[in-house]
Symmetry: C2
Subunit: 221 residues, 2 copies
DNA sequence: GTGCTATGATACTGACCGGTAACTCTCTTG
DNA sequence: CAAGAGAGTTACCGGTCAGTATCATAGCAC
């Protein structure tokens, strides 16, 4: 115990109280209508930071601070940073397929148009100067440990995408659907990775034409 | 100073000496004929570890230990870890173009064969189960800081590669050399990145056929 | 009111990070 | 033999890492 002026101040500083001004501020912020839960804020912040700065470059402390909460709330909602990363990718997988299926259902029975729409979406994403490629592929580059919980999410996602492409190419009547699907896959992955080295004005900007030409060549055969 | 038994032992422990056995071992290893310099060992070890485990995943201490030396030797030969990373990529750039030019000079005036040979090399690399894609592209994913010394190395490398492809496609007589070059570039980058998610049996294994078909389609036009 | 749940705040652990100081040893070159 | 360069060794620095313990508080349900 330390004697300060005429008041007793407990040495354990987690017992010291914030000023009244601070208290009122926090109370106000907490009462904000529709304020997302701590879990949601942490998840959203982590998703953004992982994508923009990279997984290893972002610490849990930074995530918590940026989400306007503390590390304890992070660890109350997620078992570990690795699991938070895996969760982020799981959610990305879910929304990816949601978008994909919505797009596909707009052109039922027309795989050609579906693929065209998919590449249009990709072209749009790849033209965004803030984009930093595919979260899955980037994570695969950063995470080399075979046992990391995110790895199976990544591999499953990419395997599913490849299978979908094969399916579409088959429906389209391509003579070598496997080859065409892989070619399209390589174009997609290439576009996402090149924007990180040559930007939106690099090879990625030709992604739509590139895919069209490839499909035409296959269907001509 | 501490009195231990009847001998004076300086408290500063960096003055404590290793056992005679340790000394003899180190002396022997040091005298090994043709043992590369500390700098070389550090550089080689760092290159391998950065590539296989990732840049951020490898600490300077680990590099030094794996190179059978210490951190001090690392910092005597390289100003910082960031510069060591940049050096690694600079060397990769140099050997890349050495290989490329050697390959190109084997088929002078025949850009078609040159490209075929380039993709054959890529196919071989991509089939290696230990390969982890392109060091440049991987580094670009890991390094998000705009000021990092490695960034300009990466961007210059990829820009040069793209320019070379355009040049070759032009020589080949393609009607849209820029488009063909970008398509080939996307295939290359895609192949390197997909082996990290779907392995050598993924889409990357069709890289040679994919490029051939693309070139054929362009030349037919 | 009384709990209960979610959240907040702070301090702490042990490990590791990149980077440096200070000193010793050995080999080479003159 | 002397001088210098290259290399090795250990301890240390301040900072950050992921993860935990402990207590406080605010809102809600009953």
């Amino acid at each position: 115990m330390i004697l300060t002026g005429n008041s007793l101040v407990n040495q354990r500083s987690h017992m010291t109280k914030p000023s009244n001004g601070q208290l009122r501020l926090r109370a106000l912020r907490k009462r904000e209508a529709n304020r997302p839960s701590a879990r949601q804020r942490i998840f959203d912040t982590a998703s953004e930071l992982f994508y923009l700065k990279g997984i290893r470059a972002v610490g849990v402390e930074t995530i918590a601070a940026e989400a306007d909460t503390t590390k304890m709330s992070l660890y109350r909602n997620f078992p570990s940073k690795d699991e938070l990363v895996a969760e982020w990718l799981r959610e990305h997988d879910a929304t990816f397929w949601q978008t994909w299926d919505a797009m596909a259902s707009r052109y039922p029975e027309d795989p050609r148009r579906q693929i065209k729409a998919a590449f249009a979406l990709l072209a749009k994403h790849v033209a965004d100067p803030k984009a930093r490629g595919c979260p899955m592929a980037n994570a695969a580059v950063e995470i080399t440990e075979k046992a990391h919980p995110a790895r199976k999410v990544i591999e499953a996602h990419k395997a599913k995408l490849r299978a979908r492409l094969v399916q579409m190419c088959t429906q389209m009547g391509a003579q070598e659907p496997g080859l065409l699907a892989d070619q399209l896959f390589l174009l997609m992955e290439g576009a996402q990775v090149t924007i990180q080295t040559l930007g939106a004005r690099g090879p990625a900007r030709n992604i739509a034409r590139a895919s069209k030409m490839l499909i035409d060549a296959h269907l001509r055969a």
